[in-house]
Symmetry: C2
DNA sequence: GATTGAAGGATTGTTGAACGAGAAATAGAG
DNA sequence: CTCTATTTCTCGTTCAACAATCCTTCAATC
């Protein structure tokens, strides 16, 4: 095909062509489902009946099943043999593990931020600035989205496509938890300033300090979410 | 269903029952394909034609497609829209990234091995012993399998199900590389002693030393594989 | 020789109908 | 209430069909 040594115009043209509507219906349905899960329309524990969903989506049941398989690997759906497919419902253990792996990946990124690609720290700054702008116009969903981008950017300091993908999955799973957190404002607001502070420390090249700060931040966030989880489970009886 | 507080006999029975033939045909076909990929019968770059494969496996094409979707998330297969499904072929960049992420996960495990679950270091010892036994009877495939178990065990020192899964995928991908490594004996033999040494250091509780040793080990392994890769690509012209 | 365009064949992606198996719900008896 | 049997629902799979796309081959032109 395209000679990899040819760089420039031809390589860019080929790459751009690759993106033009070249996705399967199954992938598109998976995107749709992912969107509904992460924006809260499909809730944790909810069952996804094939017949209903394929009619609503106007696709065949086989195609829907392929989409389900695509989403199962992101842990957004849980496939239970002969019982159907459910939106994943995180347990307290899941939460502990999620934060554990976040610590591994995000702290690794921060620890080695000195060797990160040129624009990686600038991207953090941009995410924080976007969050601040969204807060200024009371767009708390936008703040949440910028926050997610910020954390994706911390792991991206590792400069590893596989780490990036793992982090995407972790953050998608974490999105399932926002359900229990109540007001987006109340949840996200305190972290805006902390994101700004972390970014400033990183820009100063104080990576060990940044790592320490990030650990405390993640500990606090975990404690907060776990606390709400416990309340929720007690309220459910 | 089973009361989670009921522990003991009933919980163990329910868990065992969960494993009894409760997998779909799609999952079973995926297992079969995974086995063929990891033992070298299906080679990197090879295309998997649906019509042929579904006839050979005696399943319907829809079921085979579901199996493909299941394997794509492990990066063992690459799904190219409208062109078919291929056994993944690792690039030199993939190799660098694989070792990068291995360093993150395995070194994290070793660094914090002091807090690992009680049997975790014993499991490393068992894997090394199995490798030594396999070598003694000239079973070099068995040595390779024990080596993989050893590395899975290093990451398992983290005590995280998500890390375990990530590591499983990394090691499965790495299996794709063994194709280029020639003689299993030549490849695996030097690492037997190093696995034994690493385990001994861990058993002595010298975790920082173990981490240093593991980094050198992974650097050496990476250099070796990358060298063979370059040779192979030059030989291919 | 190289390049382009057209045609044909192969295969992928999707659809819909059908059927069997397993789980869940319901009904009836003690 | 518990237990058992039956019914209903839906999941998992199969099959056949068709449209769309890709790949290969061939012919024409420079």
């Amino acid at each position: 095909m395209t000679d990899p040594a040819a760089g420039g115009l031809l390589a860019r043209f080929a790459a751009a062509r690759q993106d033009l509507g070249r996705s399967s219906t199954a992938a598109r349905i998976a995107d749709l489902l992912r969107e509904q899960i992460t924006n809260g329309e499909l809730r944790p524990g909810e069952r996804l009946p094939e017949e209903e969903l394929c009619k609503a989506a106007k696709v065949s049941r086989n195609t829907l099943r392929e989409a389900f398989r695509l989403l199962a690997h992101e842990r957004l759906l849980v496939h239970e043999f002969n019982r159907g497919v459910f939106v994943n419902k995180l347990t307290a253990d899941d939460l502990v593990d999620l934060f554990h792996v976040r610590r591994i990946l995000e702290c690794e990124g921060v620890r080695h931020a000195g060797g990160a690609a040129p624009g990686a720290i600038a991207a953090l700054d941009a995410a924080v600035a976007d969050g601040e702008r969204a807060a200024a116009r009371d767009d708390w969903r936008g703040v949440g989205t910028a926050n997610i981008r910020f954390h994706q950017g911390l792991a991206a300091l590792c400069g590893s496509p596989r780490v990036d993908e793992m982090m995407r999955h972790l953050l998608a799973e974490l999105r399932l938890v926002f359900d229990v957190m109540g007001s987006p404002r109340e949840f996200h607001e305190p972290y805006l300033a902390r994101n700004r502070e972390l970014t400033t420390i990183l820009q100063r090249g104080e990576f060990a300090i940044a790592e320490r700060e990030l650990r405390m931040y993640l500990d606090d966030a975990e404690r907060q979410i776990a606390g709400r989880y416990r309340e929720r489970e007690q309220a459910a009886g």
